[in-house]
Symmetry: C2
Subunit: 193 residues, 2 copies
């Protein structure tokens, strides 16, 4: 087991077969030691890959993006969510369905912050159904930039987001991939990588 | 002029006497060089102050909080916003009026992440009317923790948030304090510190 799988075992809480709560160290309170290790490990897995910019989505992706960008010394761009924003001349806009809120969100990045030909590394804390990552992929395509990889802390392997993105040909790296969870025994089974 | 005042002059955009857009380097795209300098300068201004935890509010406060927490090597807690959350046994809840969205937001932190007696440094990207900072102050008080300071990148001195918090006795440090802005000449006047 790697450091993140160990942390999930000790500090994560399983609410049901689909919901893992890691807000004690990842997305409400942030354990900076774990955060630095996540960033180091993402950087290691994309060794040799050129990165111009790191793209994430508000809010909880920002912590990983900033820690990683500090190592690469490149800018972060975080996409914003809005229920109402319209496609305009000055924004790239896509959509993501939120399963937690059961609403369709618009996701946008202002045009001056993504350029044609730039090498973009997409990062986030979680990948589940892949809605958020997909909306970022869509935005990068609109900008004519290149997606050099997608790096996340935790992939919920029971859902299809990671699989779908890999099938599309993207280089996806997840530090921990959950295969199954058992709420009664509070056990998590990780995919061997 | 310090580094942030210079950056505001060169890259900020004044939309009217009250709206300064700095999303090219602070709260949409993030210039990591500026971000590190902001964190270093906040740390310098609170030299000798003991900090157990850094508290901010999603989303744009997270970047500064994480960069600073990386230097202090303490955890970050970011308060979450919700239109609907209710006061419960497991959350500290306060309120903040959003002038941009013209709505009252609930702001909350789960109880396990703030403890009685902890020394909390509150940080954010902006302070304007002080609604966000005030909601964090309220939450820290509910937890019985101590506010050792409030550090922000940019204070809008035309609004009263910073003044009000200083009058309440808090140690507030703002790297750049805007006194007035002129949209026609695109000039910004900073308060001498």
């Amino acid at each position: 087991m790697n450091f993140l799988e160990e942390k999930i075992i000790t500090d994560g809480k399983i609410f049901n077969e689909n919901i893992l709560k890691v807000d004690g160290f990842l997305n409400h309170q942030i354990d900076m030691d774990i955060m630095r290790q996540i960033a180091c490990e993402i950087k290691r897995r994309f060794k040799g890959v050129h990165v111009d910019k790191i793209l994430t989505i508000e809010a909880s992706g920002i912590a990983i993006a900033v820690t990683l960008a500090n190592m690469y010394d490149v800018p972060v761009v975080f996409a914003k969510k809005s229920a109402t924003v319209n496609s305009t001349d000055d924004k790239y806009v896509s959509e993501a369905y939120s399963f937690t809120r059961k609403t369709m969100n618009k996701v946008f990045v202002s045009k001056p912050y993504l350029h044609e030909g730039e090498d973009i590394l997409i990062v986030d804390d979680f990948i589940a159904d892949g809605q958020a990552a997909n909306s970022l992929v869509e935005i990068v395509k609109q900008a004519g930039a290149n997606i050099v990889g997608i790096g996340v802390a935790i992939e919920k392997g029971q859902q299809n987001g990671g699989k779908m993105l890999r099938e599309k040909g993207f280089h996806v790296e997840s530090i921990a991939i959950i295969d199954t969870m058992n709420v009664e025994t509070q056990t998590v089974f990780f995919r061997r990588q």
